[in-house]
Symmetry: C2
Subunit: 312 residues, 2 copies
C-alpha cells in the first residue's frame, strides 16, 4: 500500500490571535505527507526552490516519505501569507507568491505510477489532472480544492471532480461549488458531480462525511488553545487517507462504514495536534502514544454503549 500526494511545499507567513510567524514551513503536500506517514508509505510530488531548508527534506525522509518526486529548482519556494483574525475557522489570504510554483510541471518517477491511493491536494486543477493521468490504476483518488480555483478554473475543476472517488471541502467551498446553503443538499449535488464520497470539513465543529447514502460524523477535539489552524485540512486528509490506504479495500466498491468512521477520527486526531502550534511545531512532537490517547478521547466524546428504551 502507498499513497501519492501532489501539492504545495511552502513558506507561510501567518498571523493569528496567538501571534505571528514569518516564512514558517507549510504547504498542502507537506502537511498531508507528514500526517499520512504515520499510517502508510507516502510518495511526494512537489516543487521547491533552492531556499528550501535541506534539514526539512531530511525530516520528511526520516518519516519514511519518498521525496524522489520532489523537484528542487532555481528560484524561491512558494510563499503564502494570510491571517485568521476574527474567525479561526477561515483564513484570509493577504499575499501569494507563486515563485517556482508558476512553472511547476509535475512528472512522476516511474516508481510512483502504481500507487494504491492518490491525493490531489489544493493546487491548480490542471496540474491535478496532469498528475492523475500519470498514475496507472489507483483504487482511491481523492482531491481538495479552494474557493480560488472554484472561481477561476471551474471547468478544469469539474473535470477533475468527475475522475475522483472522494473530495474534501469546507462548508463554504461546498456552498460555492453546489450553490446550496444546506449542507446535505450541497453534498448530494457534489456527489452528482463525480465523487461518491464527500467530506465536509467544518473546522471546530467537526467533519461530516457522505458516502453513497451513508452519513458519518466526527466532532473536532474541543481545545482550549488553538494557535494556528494553517494546515489543519491537509493534515486531516493525511490521517484520513493514510488509514484508508492501509486498511481500505477498493473505495469504488462497497465502503466499510466502520473504517470510514475510524478514518474521520484519525484525520481529526492529526489535525487537532497541528492547530496547537505554528507550522509543524506540535506535529514534530507526535508519537504513537499521543495519537492513540487523542484518538480515544475523540471517540469517547460520542461513544454510546446502551440503546434507547422507549415504548408507546
Amino acid at each position: 500500500m502507498s499513497i501519492l500526494v501532489v501539492g504545495s511545499m511552502a513558506f507561510d507567513s501567518v498571523e493569528t490571535p496567538a501571534g505571528k510567524r514569518e516564512k514558517a514551513l507549510g504547504g498542502s503536500a507537506n502537511y498531508f505527507s507528514i500526517s499520512a506517514s504515520y499510517y502508510t508509505d507516502v510518495k511526494l510530488v512537489a516543487v521547491v526552490g533552492q531556499d528550501f531548508p535541506q534539514e526539512h527534506i531530511q525530516f520528511l525522509s526520516s518519516r519514511g516519505i519518498d521525496t524522489s518526486g520532489l523537484q528542487v529548482v532555481n528560484g524561491d519556494t512558494f510563499h503564502w501569507a494570510g491571517h485568521y483574525m476574527n474567525d479561526l475557522n477561515e483564513a484570509e489570504t493577504t499575499a501569494t507568491y507563486l515563485n517556482v510554483f508558476a512553472d511547476f510541471d509535475p512528472t512522476l518517477p516511474e516508481s510512483y505510477q502504481e500507487v494504491n491511493t492518490v491525493f490531489l491536494a489544493n493546487i491548480d486543477p490542471e496540474l491535478q489532472l496532469k498528475v492523475l493521468e500519470q498514475v496507472k490504476n489507483p483504487k482511491l483518488v481523492a482531491m481538495d480544492s479552494m474557493n480560488f480555483w472554484i472561481h477561476s478554473k471551474k471547468d478544469a475543476l469539474l473535470n477533475v471532480l468527475k475522475k475522483v472517488n472522494m473530495v474534501f471541502v469546507n462548508d463554504k467551498e461546498a456552498e460555492l461549488l453546489s450553490g446550496e446553503k444546506n449542507v446535505v443538499r450541497a453534498a448530494k449535488k457534489i456527489q452528482q458531480m463525480g465523487p461518491s464520497t464527500v467530506v465536509i470539513k467544518r473546522g471546530e465543529y467537526g467533519a461530516l462525511l457522505f458516502s453513497g447514502d451513508d452519513m458519518a460524523f466526527t466532532p473536532a477535539m474541543p481545545l482550549e488553545d488553538v494557535i494556528d489552524p494553517t494546515g489543519a485540512g491537509d493534515t486531516f486528509a493525511g490521517g484520513f487517507l493514510g488509514l484508508a490506504d492501509r486498511e481500505g479495500e477498493d473505495f469504488k466498491g462497497q465502503v466499510d462504514g466502520d473504517l470510514i468512521r475510524r478514518c474521520l477520527i484519525t484525520g481529526t486526531t492529526m489535525s487537532s495536534y497541528v492547530v496547537q502550534g505554528f507550522s509543524f511545531d506540535k506535529t514534530k512532537e507526535l508519537n504513537a502514544n499521543l495519537i492513540l490517547n487523542r484518538w480515544s478521547a475523540i471517540k469517547a466524546l460520542s461513544d454510546v454503549k446502551d440503546d434507547l428504551r422507549i415504548s408507546g
Copy 2:
C-alpha cells in the same frame, strides 16, 4: 420519577426562509413538556390568557402532562414574534408582548413540590428562583436562559446559576456569560459559576457537554429541510432531561457518562423533528418507532466499533 418545568406558553409569529406563521402555538414550557413527556411524568407551571385554545391543553393532557399548575387568567397569552432570515441557528426577535406573563406569580400545587427534576426554562430569573424555592429536595435542577436576561438581570441570573446542577446555553450565550470566545474556556468558567454540567447547544453543529471533567458530544441530525428552528432548544432539553429523570441517579454525585451521551442523542432526536415543521406540526406526528429510528441514525453517525492500530 417526575419533572417540573416552569416557562412560557406562547403564541409565536415566526418567519423563516421556508415561510411564515402567525400566532402559532409555542413557548419554552410547551416545547419542553411535550418532548419530555415521551420519557417521564411532566408537571407544567405556566400562565396563559383566556385566548389560549382549550384543545391544546387537552393535547398536553393526552400526553400525560400534569397541567394543574397551569394558570388561566384574564387577558391575552404571551406573544413572541421573530424571524430567522440569514442564519437558521439564531432567531432575531422583532416583538415581545408579555401580556399575562407580566404579572405571572408562579405558585406550585402541593403535588408539584416533591419532584425529582426541575427545569427552569427561559424566563425572568427572579421567577425561576421563586419556583425553585417552592421545590423540596430535587435531585437535578437545570436551567436555560437567553441574552436578554444576561444583559438585563445578570445578578439574579448568577444567583440562579449558583443553585442549579446543569445549564443549557447556546454558543453565543456561553460567550456572553463567560466573556470567553473559546468554547472550552467558556464552559469551564460557567462551571465555576455553579452548575457542574454545562450543555452548549450549537444548532446544526450539535451539542457539546461538559460535566465535571468529562466532555461529550452529539452531532445534530443532518437534515435537508429545516423549516423552523423555534422550540428546538427547549425540545432538546425536554428529551435530555426526560431521559435523565427516568434513568439517572443523583446528578450531584457521580454522573453516568453513557447516560449523559444517551441524553444528548435523545434531546437531539426530539429537536430534529420539531425543526422539520412550524410549531408542533411534526412533533404531533411522533411515535416510539420514529423516535427510535432517528435515535439510531444519530448514534450511527459517530458509532465506531474498532479501535486504531498504530505502532512506533
